[in-house]
């Protein structure tokens, strides 16, 4: 492979003077190509190392982007992606004519907002509280318990949710009954589900986020607290005036990352827990589950594709807009 590169390179160098007379632009282009070939030849071992990763990205991340084309076609599996006929914006019309798109867009953004506020909020509280604990052993024990749910799959979580929320055998209803209250049929009460999903999300992720915040707290120089202590500040005052301001940047980064993905719901979570329970769709159906059903259950490739393109587009817009805003406030925090 290396020999071929060198040969090509030689060939181009010989040809260059001739081209120079005819067209300036081609020379520049040729120069660039020579340079590139040189670079690839010089570091061929390194570029070779990158080949599997690059191939992966090409096949599994870039090639599927052509799938967006289906959004403008009437997909026929016999004719394939390129053979199917164009239908312009019909798929989008079909999706945007109905009311579903408003419901799923609202649910996606609303649920994600709840997750961001409560997920990160509680993680900050937990991190600060854990940091206040003087007994190292007890602190470690607590941390282990809190981090545990992060490691299990959403399918397992859905089983646990069923065990807690089940109508007749669920722990929650049994407890309610024992306390003299009425049972609640949670799996047919859509109003309760934004709260339930938020609780489950917080339960599963607060251990994860609190570790990030604990790391940020650990990076605060201890003399800040020492001088505050000499000045007679209480623990609470130190939290509000030292800890919180100094972990604000970490908080901002995590919030921004999450807001950038606000159009992407957690499919594994919602489909794992709610599944095909149509009674709960009004408050739990998100763009991801909706497009999944359109694809796998209705087999409507065109519409599923239109929804996905809408999601990808809105997701990209959100990030670009957000980055623009962040840039104006604080250049260093901008992503690009």
């Amino acid at each position: 492979m290396s020999e071929a590169n060198v040969e090509m390179e030689d060939g181009q160098e010989e040809g260059e003077p001739v081209v120079r007379q005819s067209n300036c632009e081609t020379i520049e282009r040729k120069g660039e190509i020579t340079e590139m070939v040189n670079e690839l030849a010089k570091n061929r071992q390194l570029y070779l190392l990158a080949v599997p990763g690059l191939l992966f990205l090409l096949i599994f991340a870039y090639v599927p982007m052509f799938g967006h084309v289906i959004a403008f076609k009437k997909f026929n599996s016999l004719k394939g992606l390129w053979g199917s006929e164009w239908v312009g914006l019909d798929n989008f019309k079909f999706f945007f004519m109905g009311k579903d798109w408003i419901t799923v867009t609202f649910n996606t953004i609303f649920l994600n907002s709840l997750f961001i506020v409560f997920g990160i909020g509680l993680a900050v509280v937990l991190a600060i509280f854990l940091n206040e604990m003087r007994s190292v052993l007890y602190k470690r024990l607590m941390q282990s318990a809190i981090f545990m749910p992060y490691f299990i799959s959403w399918v397992v979580v859905s089983m646990m949710a069923l065990a807690v929320l089940g109508t007749t055998e669920g722990l929650l209803n049994r407890t309610l009954e024992a306390l003299g209250f009425e049972r609640v049929a949670w799996y047919s009460t859509p109003e309760a589900w934004p709260a339930i999903l938020t609780a489950i999300y917080v339960w599963k992720t607060s251990g994860y986020y609190s570790i990030i915040f604990l790391a940020a707290i650990a990076a605060i120089p201890p003399d800040y607290y020492e001088s505050a202590l000499i000045d007679g500040a209480s623990r609470l005052r130190m939290i509000f005036h030292i800890t919180l301001p100094l972990i604000r940047k970490t908080m901002m980064v995590l919030v921004l990352l999450a807001v950038g993905r606000i159009f992407y719901g957690d499919f594994g979570m919602v489909y794992g827990i709610v599944g095909d329970n149509g009674m709960l769709f009004s408050t739990t159906d998100i763009i991801d589950t909706y497009s999944y059903r359109a694809l796998r259950q209705l087999g409507n490739f065109g519409m599923a594709s239109a929804i996905v393109l809408y999601q990808s587009f809105m997701g990209l817009m959100t990030i670009v807009m957000f980055n623009w805003i962040v840039r104006r406030i604080d250049r260093d925090s901008a992503i690009f």
């Binding site: 570091n43 990158a50 206040e132 799959s153 980064v253």
Partner: protein, 288 residues
Amino acid sequence: MRDKWFIGFVYVFVTVFAVFCFLPFWMVFVDSFATESGLREKGFHLFPTEFSLDAYTFLFSGGQVYSSYAVSVTVTAIGTIGAMIVSSSYAYVLAHRKVKYRNILSFLTYFTMLFGAGLVGFYMLIANWLGLKDTIWALILPYLLNPFYVFIMVSYFRDIPYELNEAALIDGCGEIRTFVRIILPIAKPVLATVGLFYALQYWNDWWLALLFVDDYRLHPLQIMIRQLVSNLNVQSYIAGSSTSYTVTIPSTGIQLATVCITIGPIIALYPILQRYYTKGLTIGAVKG
């Protein structure tokens, strides 16, 4: 004085939250040993009142649990090794200062995090273009490279002193040999962390199997749990045949028992997992 009240509140709050985090695990474990009639009568409960191995006996009498376990273990093992090879070598190139096009490569990687191909294109790629439906590769290949994990490794590789590379180069060591013999051994901590990230992702995934695997012989454990909840004919699913038993099936118990054996390895490895995850997250957090 005020501090005392505050510290008391801190301990109570954290303890209550930690107990809530742990309770579901405990409940699933305890109730997997309950009898079916006990579960029906008392519902899910926290204090063991009876001990029966009915669910486990039934579960292990059929073939499905073995094949599902084999699928999950195979996918996790091959996937993690493959992902580490692909991702670490790719990350090394992104981090290498001699590579002129590393910024272009980084951008190509980063862009996939911003603009996804989406479900339909991805589905068509695996199912139609690559023809991987109902094969084990559909569960392995799509996760071989996670941009986020790659960037964690990049930031670690960047901090390794470049003098090491220079010394190796002077000694006549090629770039690939330098990477394998010198850099990888030094990078063990980050490799362990990211390796566990990948292993957990493979073990816990059910999305790929949901999309691409209909054949029950290729069902990983996560899908098996799901099938047990939604499948009407639990008996034939577990046994892998239509042999009929006259006894009533402990269906709830079987679900719980399957959950227990699925999260069993995670709980057993939990101290290690927790330590490396904390380390990995801390690297990420400090680097921003």
